[in-house]
């Protein structure tokens, strides 16, 4: 795990090289190089329409890059479907929360454990001792995960009945249940008030430390990004214009000009 502020020691976990995507005549993302190291808390920022979510969608296999390559843990991800990429160890949340609204909180998390199941359709029918043991174990693990985030009190409620903040947290928990090596958070602070944002920042750090994974964050909220990211990649009009520590980004004239107009970066 990378130490706070220290030089990154580990090899890149996720690497984007020359990643480009065109939708018809529109080049949404152009020749982006970026990486995320193991255990790192990285940020991806940029003005509206800079292509941040498009980059997320390429990493997770929703879109295939027109050019360039994405490798995860040394393995190229080209041509893999989203569920295969999740299998490799990349989990994500969505900008506009996408839970399974009619499923209970418990089942939302339980279903995400699916990747590590040994049983499948046939075992569901035979319901042998091994199947039952595995189900019991998964229930236990689901409960454990929910209790870490203090959501076990609402575990039998349908996910749609949760408060906005809890839904955001549940989405992160659900992503964790797939046991990722890299967690992609797409605007986790959107719609949160300052107190909730503070809690979110603590939560993100906590997750990184507790689960020992790398996190890549797309976020508009400067306070959150500057507060927790160790390294930040900046996009503008689909091109990468800067990369560095929060302090470096804050003082980077290109970033100031492109992202924040002529004024210097202000915290929130």
């Amino acid at each position: 795990m990378a130490e706070e502020g220290g030089p990154p020691l580990s090899a890149p976990l996720l690497e984007l090289s020359g990643v480009t995507i065109r939708f018809g005549g529109l080049t949404a993302v152009s020749a982006v190089d970026a990486d995320v190291r193991e255990g790192e808390l990285a940020g991806l920022i940029g003005p509206n329409g800079a292509g941040k979510t498009t980059v997320f969608n390429m990493i997770t296999g929703v879109y295939q890059p027109t050019e360039g390559a994405i490798t995860f843990a040394g393995r190229p991800t080209a041509g893999l479907k989203p569920y295969r990429i999740t299998e490799l160890g990349i989990a994500r949340t969505f900008q506009n929360i996408r839970l399974f609204p009619s499923l209970t909180v418990f089942d939302n998390v339980r279903v995400a454990f699916h990747l590590h199941l040994e049983h499948d359709s046939v075992h569901s029918l035979t319901r042998g001792p091994k199947f039952q043991a595995e189900e019991v174990e998964l229930r236990e693990r689901t409960r454990e995960l929910l209790s870490i985030f203090r959501l076990e009190r609402v575990q039998d409620e349908p996910a749609k009945s949760l408060s906005y903040g809890d839904q955001r947290r549940l989405e992160i928990i659900r992503a964790l249940a797939t046991r990722p090596k890299l967690l992609l958070l797409d605007e986790p602070a959107a719609g949160m008030n300052p107190t909730e944002k503070d809690e979110l920042m603590k939560l993100i750090r906590f997750i990184r430390d507790r689960f020992g994974l790398a996190i890549l964050l797309v976020e508009h909220d400067m306070k959150v990004v500057m507060g927790i990211c160790e390294r930040i990649h900046v996009l503008e009009y689909g091109r990468k214009i800067a990369e560095g520590t929060p302090a470096g980004i804050r003082g980077n004239p290109k970033v100031i000009a492109a992202y924040l107009g002529e004024e210097p970066v202000k915290e929130s």
């Binding site: 339980r110 569901s124 319901r127």
Partner: protein, 315 residues
């Protein structure tokens, strides 16, 4: 190890239907006919519920799968069985269930054939493709001389009895229930809720959808076989769009994605259809009015438990 509760219930229901089957000969034949029809409806509605209710796909082709199973098993019992020279008992208790399974498997194959290319379509588009499939099956059957073309297939032995119908119904309900009640099975519901999120959680959504289609089609095929050997006569017109709609209505009336509700709705609607038989064409009017009233008053389905939920107190 002692079987889990769900399997004990299944065994109990199977035993009960075997017992009832032994005395069913004393029942009024008309009543028995209606009861068996209702049981077949349970098979059809529960299996469609897996596709339309739980997995959130909209199939209008269930009558088509039913037709495949019906004709396949009927062809086996009318053409192959007489050549084997089996005793009546062997025919009814061994050959017949095998032919039902064969019909189901052929229907499942049809399920793959229809499902694999068209499951990337969503909602209305999938409905149209499956509707088209059902009609194609009907038209093909109407034109193939070997199965009687539009004259229909006659002389099918009456192997269907109480045990086979309610045994199949119990197995269908069990299979659908057991598939869903596992961590694996929650994936079907997740696919129905949000496909993009399901895929992002590592669920192979295509595989889930095809599984639902194949299992659903299999049991529709079995139901077709039961139907063929109950009526003793098959007519391609009986597997039209109307039949598919009838099954869809059962699923909606019971509450999409509810096990018991759909069973109750299947039983109830079959009996209702039967009691409206004298009114002839009015049947469809009653049906439509029923559906409209239902959609306005109970969009969640008639038999969703609890029937009258308390108003939730918002925190």
């Amino acid at each position: 190890m002692f079987p889990p509760r769900s399997q004990r219930i299944l065994l109990a229901v199977l035993a009960a239907s075997a017992l009832l089957s032994a005395v069913s000969g004393r029942l009024n034949p008309y009543f028995l006919d209606v009861a068996l029809g209702a049981g077949i409806s349970v098979v059809l509605a529960s299996s469609l519920n897996l596709i339309n209710g739980f997995t959130g796909q909209f199939s209008l082709g269930h009558a088509g799968f039913m037709a495949v199973g019906a004709y396949a098993s009927a062809m086996l019992t009318t053409t192959l069985a007489p050549r084997l020279g089996l005793s009546a008992n062997l025919l009814q208790w061994v050959f017949f269930p095998l032919s039902l399974v064969a019909g189901g498997l052929l229907a499942a194959l049809a399920g793959i054939a229809v499902g694999a290319p068209s499951l990337r379509l969503k909602g209305d588009y999938l409905a149209i493709v499956t509707l088209g499939f059902g009609e194609i099956i009907k038209v093909v059957l109407q034109n193939v001389d070997a199965v009687g073309a539009s004259r229909g297939l006659t002389g099918i032995p009456n192997h269907t009895n109480f045990f086979w119908v309610f045994g199949s119904a119990a197995v269908t309900v069990y299979v659908v229930w057991a598939l869903l009640n596992s961590t694996y099975g929650r994936g079907f519901l997740a696919v129905a809720d949000d496909e993009v999120a399901a895929e992002a959680m590592g669920l192979n959504t295509t595989r889930y959808k095809i599984t639902a289609f194949v299992v659903g089609a299999f049991f529709a095929g079995v139901a077709g076989g039961l139907y063929a050997h109950l009526k003793g006569y098959l007519n391609p017109g009986g597997f039209s769009f109307d039949k598919s709609i009838e099954i869809v209505v059962m699923v909606i009336l019971g509450g999409m994605g509810r096990h018991s509700g759909v069973v109750v709705a299947a039983l109830l609607l079959t009996v209702l259809t039967e009691s409206l038989r004298q009114t002839g064409a009015f049947r469809m009017i009653v049906y439509s009015v029923l559906l409209i009233v239902l959609m306005l008053t109970r969009p969640q389905g008639l038999f969703v438990w609890p029937l009258w939920p308390k108003k939730e107190a918002r925190p």
